[in-house]
């Protein structure tokens, strides 16, 4: 997150206990940097009544206690935060790197074939594109602190499943639209699952529960199905 001038934002009321802040510049990197730096500022500043912030790509949802504060007060506070971002500049954290072994296709990636057909590529072509790129973790999302990333360089956006699955296993490596993700926990899901990592992402005995933060980078590495059991039970850790 290189320091850059904060993007212009719009504030949208989102009920009596939340405010959506959207960065609206033409530069998606700048928007992303703005909402994440704002979320960090809100956490460090610890304003009375503000529960926390959920930053994603171009927006941050600020949740608050409507008895202790109000959308109007939180909005004024956010504007103050943005001015401080411009003058102070929160020092950029050095991104950590993660290496994620993935078994693609077969029972591990039931949608690999259909994604390949939709992209007019071979399954091998999908695997090559998916494992070629270095991904920036854009935000922690649902479920369970999923690392949400910009998608691989596929020719077309990937449509979501028409009938979402009731249960997608932990470790599922999935794509949808122009986004990519790994599922830390078993949950329902409508994204196309192209592979699975044997590594565990979520550990509820530790804080934080997942080892990565927005801004960290991640690479997928294809492994043969026989190696799944070699990694099983291990946790994802940053590369030293």
């Amino acid at each position: 997150m290189s320091p850059m001038t904060a993007a212009t934002v719009e504030l949208h009321e989102s009920g009596d206990a939340a405010l959506r802040v959207v960065a609206v510049s033409d530069d998606s990197e700048r928007n992303w940097s703005t909402v994440h730096r704002l979320a960090q500022w809100l956490e460090f500043a610890g304003a009375e009544g503000v529960h926390g912030a959920v930053p994603t790509y171009d927006s941050v949802l600020v949740e608050f206690d409507p008895c202790a504060t109000s959308a109007r007060q939180v909005g004024a506070y956010v504007r103050m935060g943005l001015r401080q971002l411009d003058s102070d500049g929160i020092p950029a954290r050095i991104p950590r790197e993660f290496d994620v072994p993935v078994v693609y296709g077969g029972p591990y990636g039931p949608d690999l074939e259909s994604v390949a057909a939709q992209q007019q590529l071979s399954p091998e072509g999908i695997i090559a594109l998916h494992s070629a790129k270095t991904y920036v973790i854009r935000c922690l999302g649902a479920p369970a602190g999923s690392p949400m990333m910009d998608g691989p360089d596929f020719p077309f956006p990937v449509p979501r499943l028409k009938d979402p699955r009731l249960s997608v296993p932990a470790g599922a490596v999935a794509v949808a639209g122009r986004q990519a993700v790994i599922a830390p926990a078993t949950a329902p899901g409508g994204w196309c699952v192209i592979g699975q990592t044997p590594l565990g992402l979520l550990n509820i005995a530790t804080e934080p529960l997942v080892p990565y933060l927005p801004g960290d980078v991640l690479r997928f590495r294809p492994i043969p199905a026989e190696e799944f059991s070699v990694y099983a039970g291990q946790e994802l850790r940053a590369v030293q």
Binding site: D16, G52, V60, P66, C67, A144, R178, A185
Partner: protein, 337 residues
């Protein structure tokens, strides 16, 4: 002194609190008691902090036995509450003697009942909250034979004459009917629905059986999104109303995934979320538009009622010597068993 509560009949019950407010920034839903007003009231009536761990009982009958004297309170959906076979009042403090069985049966007019125990019960914490999270597999779901540790024992306070109810703290109880009026404010993406957004206020909706703590699904006339561009995932507030399919509205509740890619049509107010927590499949909902300012004022007014209750409880407990063991020793023979 610690005491042990043994669950004889768990029904569908968990230990929870007001929620994991630090969860959403880590991608975890807030969860916690779905009817926040009833949960707060239960804790206040038991002399606890609002956020103390308590038992949330959903729909089914529940029984526990204690090995020490307790002071408890039961709020939320109307039930038949008995202690040692005696019928007791909800929404008032209730004494339970060592060895007695507390039973909650025949829940009507709502879906969730709260049982708070003075001094609270011990439960594991994740990010500062004991609220169960079904997705990450955290939390204390009660089973037959589960033993809970209550952190305080409270000597018996009982009307010596015919066991008449001792307390009359008089909190106005919320009413949970079968036809709910749910207040909403405009959602941040209301423009995506064009003129069809008004449909939300022109008809009634029926709650589907596929509803749970993550969200309620409602059938009825559905507003329609005008555009079909893929949205980037964004944080969604608890109470967000989305139209993810052609069949149903989705109203997200406290177990909601923190991010989603659907436009938010409207947002249910904090107060009405408590009402929805008590709604059963088949009940009907009509939505009424309000403003954020009016919703905030209404929420603050109900919290103010709880503050008055807290003061009343402090006064009454002070007069009865609850929480002052030395004082209590003097009083015990007079109330006599």
């Amino acid at each position: 002194m610690n005491s042990t509560l043994t669950i004889l009949q768990p029904g569908n019950s968990v230990v929870t609190d007001l929620g994991r407010v630090r969860g959403p920034q880590y991608g975890l839903p807030v969860n916690g008691a779905l009817d926040q007003f009833s949960a707060r009231a239960a804790n206040i009536l038991a002399g606890n902090d609002d956020n103390a761990a308590l038992i949330e009982i959903t729909a089914l009958d529940f029984r526990l036995q204690t090995d020490a004297d307790l002071l408890v309170s039961v709020t939320g959906a109307a039930v038949t509450l008995t202690v040692g076979g005696r019928e007791c009042q909800q929404w008032e403090p209730v004494s339970v003697r060592a060895g007695e069985i507390l039973a909650i049966r025949g829940m009507t007019g709502g879906l969730r009942t709260y049982l708070a125990i003075r001094g609270s019960v011990s439960a594991p914490l994740l990010l500062g909250s004991c609220a169960p999270d079904t997705v990450v597999g955290f939390g204390l779901r009660l089973l037959e034979g589960t033993r809970l540790t209550a952190l305080t024992s409270t000597g018996p306070i009982r009307q010596p004459y015919f066991d008449l109810p001792l307390f009359r703290l008089g909190l106005e109880r919320p009413q949970f009917g079968t036809e709910l009026v749910v207040e909403v404010t405009d959602g941040p993406d209301i423009e995506e629905f064009g003129g069809s957004a008004e449909l939300l206020f022109n008809s009634s909706y029926t709650i589907s059986a596929r509803s749970n703590h993550i969200g309620l699904r409602l059938g009825g006339e559905l507003p329609e999104r005008m555009s079909s561009t893929e949205l980037l995932s964004r944080g969604v507030p608890v109470g967000a109303i989305e139209v993810p399919s052609r069949d149903e509205l989705l109203v997200l509740h406290r177990g909601r995934g923190v991010t989603a890619g659907y436009p938010v049509l409207a947002v249910v107010t904090s107060q009405s979320l408590d009402l929805l927590a008590q709604a059963r499949p088949g009940h009907t909902v009509t939505f009424r538009k309000t403003s954020v300012a009016a919703a905030t004022a209404a929420h603050r007014a109900s919290m103010h009622r709880l503050e008055s209750l807290r003061r009343a409880v402090a006064t009454v407990f002070g007069l009865l010597g609850i929480g002052e063991p030395a004082h209590w020793t003097d009083l015990a023979p007079a109330i006599g068993s």
